[in-house]
Every structure is written in C-alpha cells, then in structure tokens.
Amino acid sequence: MKTLNIFLFLLLSWIGSTSDAQVRFYASGSGTTSTDQNYKVVFTLENGNGSSFKAPSFEGFRVLSGPNQSSSYQWINGKTTQSLSIYYYLQALQEGELVIGPAQITVDNQILKTESIKVSVKKGNSTSNNTANNNTNNSNNTKSNSSSQDWKNQAKDQLFLKVYTDKSKPYVGEQIFLYAKLYQRVNTYGTQITKMPEFNGFWKQEIEVDQDAWQQENIDGVAYQTLIIGKFALFPQREGSFTIEPMEMQSIIMISEPTVRNFMGFQMQTMGYKQEEYNFKSSALKIEVQALPMEGRPISFNGAVGNFELKTTLDKEEVDLGEAINYKAIISGTGNIMAVSEPLIEFPKNLEVYDPQTKESISKRSNYINGSKTYEYLIVPEAPGSFTLPSIEFSYFDLESKSYKTLSSDRYTIRVKGELAKTNKNSGHQDNLETLDEDIRYIYTKNDLSSKEQKFFGSGAYYTLSIVPPLLYSLFFLFLRFKENQGADLVALKNKRASKEAQKRLKLAKKYLDNADQKGFYNEIFDVLNNYVSDKFNLQQAELSKELVIEKFAEKQVSESLALQFEQLIQNAEMALYSPTNSLKMQEDYASTQTCLIAIENELNA
C-alpha cells in the first residue's frame, strides 16, 4: 500500500513538472529589414504569468503599432504550452546595424529578460515611405510586383479559408451545418467577407457565431489561429448534386519586409512591414443530396424530415347550430418545419370550414432548427346532429431510424343542437345534390323500328276498309226498302181483288141458291162478306168483329147505313145457317148482298 502511494506521488509530481513546464521569455524577430518595411518583433512568455512588462526603447525605430497582445494555449503530444505574445510593428529609421534591447517581465517575483536582437537595416527599395498604400494590384512598379508575388505565395499558406459541412451526403430535408473557417498565421486586420455563396437548392438559416472565439489549430505541425466566421443551417430542398460556390474574403495583411533607407548619407537596412490587401477564397464545395427512400413512404408524407409531434385541440364539443368552433392542429418539432404543409382533413359535410389561419414560428437561436406550425380552423355547423372530425395523419422521415413515422391525432365528436331553419335547408342541404357535370342521357335499347312502307294509313287497304261500312249500310238499306215495297203491293192487290173475289164467290152462292141448298148458300155469303172485309182492310179473319168492321168502314168514309147494312147481312147469313127460310128470302138476301157490295165498292172508290 505504501509503495502504491509512493508511486502515485511520483507520477503526480512528474505530471505536475511536465504541465508546469519551463518558463521561457524570449524575443523573436528577423535579422534583416529595410527602411521601407514593417518589422515585427515579438516577445513571448511561455508557461508563465507575467506582470510589469517593460519594452525596450527601440532606438533607431519608429513604433508603428504596439504593444499588441495575443495569447494562445497549445497542447501538443501531451505537452501543454501556454504563451503570451507581445508584439510591435516597427519601422527602421535608418540603414545600418540596429539592436533591439532586452525586454523584461516579472514572473513569480523573478525578473526575466530577453536577449537583444541585432537587426541589419538595408536601404528601402522605394524612397516613398508610403508603403501602406502600396496595393497588390500595383503594376507600375516591377520590383514591388515581383515582391508582391512573393508575399502572395507566402500568404496562401498563411491565410486561407475553408468551407465544409458536417455531412457530405444528406437526405432531402435533413439539416446540415456549413462552416466557414478562417485559418491564419499572419497579422491581418479589416478581414471581411466580400462574397457569400448562394445556396441554391437549400433553405438556409445563418446561425450566430462568436466573432472572437479564436482557436489554435495545427496543420502538419504548423500552428494556425482559427476562427469560425460563418455557420449556416442548410436544408436541401431536392435531391441531386449541388455545388456551393467559393466564399470570398478580403483582408489586409501585414508583411514584414526588409527596407533600405537612406538616412543622412548612410545606407540603412532595416526590417519594416507592408500592408497588403489580400483577396482569397475557399474552394467550391460539392454536396450530394440523397432522395428519401420510397420504400414505406406513407400517403400523408409531404416532405417533413426530422422529429415532429402532432397535437390537435377542439375548444368545445357541444354547440348550438350556427355557433363557431375552433379546431387547432399543431405540428411542432425539430427539422424542416418550414416545409411542413397543411394536413389534409376530410371534414364531414354539413360543417362549413373556413380556410385555416396559419401560424409559423421557427426558432433560430439554437443550432438545430425547430419550431411549430399551427393551423387554426373555424368550423360552423350548418345542420344539427353529431359529426366526427376524423383523425389527422401527419408523416415525417425520422433521421435516427431512417424510416417514416406517421402521427395520428385524436378524433373528436361534435354534437350540434338546434333545429334546422327552413331557409337553411334549401340553401345548405341541397348543395349535396348540385349537379357536378351534365351528360346526355343514355340511349333507348328497345327496338321500336317500323318501316315507312308498312304504313297502313293512306294505303289501298285503308281506303277500301273505310268504304266498306257505308257501302254495307247502303246495301242493307236498299234491301229493307225493297222488302217493304213488296209488302205494300200485296195489300193493294188484295184490296183490288176483294170485290172480284166477292163477285166470284157470289156466283158460287147463286149455284147453291138455284139448287135450293140453304146451308151452302148462307155459308158462301158469310165467307164472301168476311173475306171481302179482311182483304179490303188487310185484317186477319180471326180479329174481325162487328165494331172493328164499322170502324174500318168509317175510316174509309163509307156511310154508316151501308156499314150497318153490311153488318146486318153478315148477321143474317150467320143466323140463316141454323134456321130454315124459304127460297124467296134467299133470293132477296142474294140481291141485297150484291147491291151492298157494289154500293160499298162505289163509296170506297169515290
């Protein structure tokens, strides 16, 4: 245990001795200069906390600037070096050998001194002392031209700019950082950006950087002061290969230069410095932007990349008809929030939804761009009932898992109370039935073809058939007429023949009279009279009666006495059939029958 303690002690003391490295105080500066050059002398204190620094008197020099200070901290191969540099820009006033005396500083109550520096000063190339205005594009002086080439070549390694990104192959929509870093190991001032690249194909957001955060960095063993002068958050907007153009800067650098001066007849060579305007630029940067994978891409995806959250709120779920409801959908998170677009929401019919109010807030303070987008919908129900706001889907590409993620919001049910006004019904309700487009109606499929030739109307058959009924009727009419006429003739004939027939029968009666056949005679007389009447008046024998006969005679304007006589004769004949009479009476009846018939015939024909 003791041995371990001892070992630890030794180890720590060794580390302590190395970290508490040797305190050095030294002066550095080149051995030559000229009268028209700036000369830089640096007093460096390493690994020490110095105080009460005393500069040398710089005899034979003019102090252009100083004391300037810079400090740095280095850690190389486990060795830390802390250094404080105090430097001056000087200009030799005359040619010859000059000595910069020792500077001194107090470290831990100990006075440290630098060594003197011998400087041989040459006469300056140009008699003009105005070197500060000596521009790099000065071409009227060949010597200065050649020297400008020198310093430019030198400057290339001493002052340059690097532009780089943290990712070389980002996805579309993925945030990358682009840095512009300045490397320098030369004194400069007035450094400024003269041309910023255009970030075509990217959405860009500049991020503030600390302009004094100088750092020291070693490249191939050479130490540089570095400063990140620009930092950008970039979001590639589309896939492909993009080139970021070089970033250009301008700086005035100070170059130490030997000057030879002519001072009071002496050629004096001193070290001076020169201020030169120096333009430099970074190299172009290529960025390959990859497309997001197609595989597993949800329908609701529309370009959001990063890490998001979806939240919805509804201010009330029970409303009266016509009362407005607020529905908010908030998408927030880290990533390309500016590319997030309005989610597709299928609102139920009978809800009037106004265009949403969109609010966007993007935080630019932190490194990774984050923010939120709020879509605020105003919903006015147009009909009572219960409506369901469907769940909203929002998809994004998650960079960590390199996969798509879909968020779904809550569903809400809105209950709308109230009665639908009648006017509302007409305007609001019937919208659903509004014709979207009109097309002609479909064809008839029933075959109803009929040929023109088959027309019945106007054909011969039609006219023939239409003649038939009147024709038939006429024929029928004629037939009836004919029959009627025929009937009438028969009666006339009978009428005509009545008396003739009577005379014929009377002759037969005379025969019976001559034979004295009483029964036969009166039978014949009875028949003669009855037949006469029936033939004359178209009457049936059965319907004959005394009254009818008298009536018929009256109709025919036969005198009543004659009619009665006629009737008396019939009665006589009827009675004589059954009672015997003498031949004289028979003779008398025969004669009176004959005269009566003749008299009636005469009156009828009158």
């Binding site: 064809i443 075959n447 073809l449 040929s451 019945f456 109307f457 009924p469």
Partner: protein, 243 residues
C-alpha cells in the same frame, strides 16, 4: 304458293337484319365506339326506318362524337315523333347549350305541347284503325236500329259516329304533322343569311351550326327562314336540314 313463301322468308330475313343492326349499333354505342354506332344507325335511317328510339340514339351518338348539328337534327326528329319525352328533351337542351348562337327558343305553350303529345301518342295508321273500328260499330248499330228500334243502340250509334270522325281526323292530322317540315337545323358553321334568294343579297346575319329555324318557303336552291326572334332571311338550302 312458292311466291308467298319466298316473300315471307324475305320479310323474316329483313326483320332479322334490322334487329341485329339496331342491337349491334346499341352495342357499339355502349362500348364507346360512337363512329361505328353512327354508321349503323344511319344505315337503319337510310333504310327508311322511323322510330323515336332510333333517332334519339343516333342523336346521342352524334353528340358523343361532337357532331353537334347532326345530333340536334336527329334529337329534334326524335322529339317530333315523341313530343314531351323526358330524355329527348334533356339531351336536346344539353345539345343546344353547346351551340354558339344563343337564341333562346320560346317554350311551347302547354296546351300545344299536350296536343302534340296526344297527337303523337299513336301513329297515323293507329288513329286510322281506330276510326275504322268505330265506323264498323256505327254501321252495325244503324243496321240493327233499322230492324228494331232501341234507345241504347241509338246512343251507341251516335257515339260511334263521333268517334269515327274524331279518329279519322286525327289520322289525317298526324299524317300531315309527320309530313310537315316546318323546322330545320342549320348544319354548317358561319352560314350567311341574306336578304334575297341570290348571292348578291345583302348579308343580314351569320349563324352557326345547331341553330333551329323555321322554314317559310323555298325557291330553287334557296330557302326563306324565320329565326326564333322573328327575323327573316334567305339561306342556301344545302346549309340546313329539315327536321
């Protein structure tokens, strides 16, 4: 006997071919092959078949084929055969919407439409047959009355006479309605309407296809028209087609 049989066969063959053609034209229409449908319907029309459905379908096919004037012509022909048919009216309205000359046609007076609808509910031949039927009934009634008088028969007879006269008049009216070509459709675009029946007449209007006009008279190759708004002008007869 052989002749009759041959005639019957011919008739049946013809009937068969028209059946196939109308159905196949419908099938072509159904598959969207409107050009083919037009060819087949038109063939049926050329065979002087007349039917509301044929004209309506042909009008529809022309409409689908973007031949507006022909579409309107055949739809109008169909409407003439069946005034007041809902589908025909609908399609005709749509077709007229596509014409460039907007002359709002006056809506037909309701009783005229009723009358036309009634008149067209039967063909002239059907009316004529009805007339004949009542003519026979009247004849029989009168014949019976001659022999035996009966008041019921008298009523029947007078009723039949009235019906006979009415139906026969309807047959004649329908026939003349069918034969009348009062209206016509402008078949071409940019047709000049002139003030006189010769090329030197002053140009009064320019009309486009699909316009419905009323024919007044014809002289040689010129026809006098009356537009719906009452204006009259002459046009080359070839530029219009009668309904």
């Amino acid at each position: 006997m052989h002749k009759i049989l041959g005639l019957l066969l011919l008739c049946s063959v013809q009937a068969f071919s028209q059946e196939v053609s109308f159905e196949s034209a419908n099938a072509a229409y159904e598959t969207g092959n409107y050009t083919e449908a037009i060819v087949q319907y038109q063939e049926l029309v050329d065979q002087s078949f007349q039917s509301k459905n044929l004209f309506y379908n042909l009008g529809n096919a022309y409409f689908k084929n973007n031949e507006l004037a022909l579409s309107i012509l055949y739809l109008e022909k169909a409407q003439k055969l069946a005034p007041g048919d809902d589908n025909i009216q609908h399609n005709l309205r749509l077709a007229y919407l596509n014409t460039s000359d907007k002359i709002e046609p006056l809506p037909e007076l309701f009783f005229i439409l009723w009358w036309k609808r009634f008149l067209s509910s039967k063909t002239a031949s059907q009316w004529a047959k009805l007339g004949l039927l009542f003519s026979f009934i009247a004849f029989i009634s009168f014949a019976i009355i001659r022999i035996r008088k009966n008041w019921l028969l008298k009523v029947l007879a007078s009723f039949s006479v009235v019906c006979f006269l009415a139906f026969t008049s309807l047959a004649f009216l329908k026939n003349s309605y069918d034969k009348s070509h009062e209206y016509a459709i402008v078949m071409q675009d940019d047709v000049q309407l002139l003030s006189a029946p010769n090329s030197s007449g002053k140009e009064l209007f320019r009309v486009n296809q699909g316009l419905k006009v009323r024919r007044i008279e014809s002289i040689d190759t010129w026809t006098k028209l009356r537009l719906e708004d009452g204006n009259e002008a002459w046009v080359k007869s070839e530029a219009i087609a009668s309904i």
